[in-house]
Symmetry: C2
Subunit: 129 residues, 2 copies
């Protein structure tokens, strides 16, 4: 194995993920617009954005549609899928697939605000019903 090339399967890197966030937020948009959205924040130049976009297109995480003679980009994978996958990966890798220890960990490291607690309680009630 080692190389899954199944559909939208290649892993998305950190920098690429930043691009994805922009696209999830607003799409379809042009490379220039993507840059407008993050170049300042991440201190990137347009070429960098273009490279990342191409790589995402290769990985089939992003699709293009011609608009005039330029491209508009749009995500091909849903944010919830990505986020779900990454979360699961973490839980699998660090907590043997069990979510409770993750929760305990976050609790212990004080990464849980009161708001979080309330929301989670609410969710729990929802699910338990």
């Amino acid at each position: 194995m080692a190389k899954r090339s199944n559909g939208p399967g290649e892993r998305i890197s950190e920098a690429e993920h930043a691009i994805m966030e922009v696209l999830w937020d607003r799409n379809p948009i042009s490379a220039a617009e993507v840059c407008d959205a993050i170049c300042a924040e991440r201190d990137w130049s347009i070429p960098t954005v273009k490279t990342l976009l191409s790589r995402l297109v290769q990985k089939q995480a992003v699709g293009t549609e011609p608009e005039g003679r330029k491209f508009l980009y749009r995500p091909l994978i849903a944010r919830s899928d990505y986020v779900g996958g990454e979360s699961r990966r973490l839980v699998d890798r660090l907590f043997g697939g069990r979510a409770a220890p993750l929760f305990a960990q976050l609790a212990e490291s004080e990464a849980l605000t009161d708001d979080d607690l309330s929301e989670i309680e609410a969710l729990l009630r929802e699910m338990r019903k």
Copy 2:
């Protein structure tokens, strides 16, 4: 910036993490013993393990103590610290630092077993008290 060399600060990679898990499980142990523990599972050879161990030593994630004329390795960072850091990174990157959405995500992707739910409920009660 770009290169934090603060204390035990360099990022630990996936493969390196596998080594760490072995060390957290049992330490101090020799390179050979580490290999005994994972070489089969990950299909690695001794040289690979040695390389990863050296890198971890460089990164100050693992310490050595001479035993006879060989080394015994032991982790220098606590598993809970690593796990906490990684969890937080994920929560920051994907959920804007809020844990509740992570929880919701796991719930939605059915990554939560009934046991998880019960445990989390228990934890919640604990914390709320």
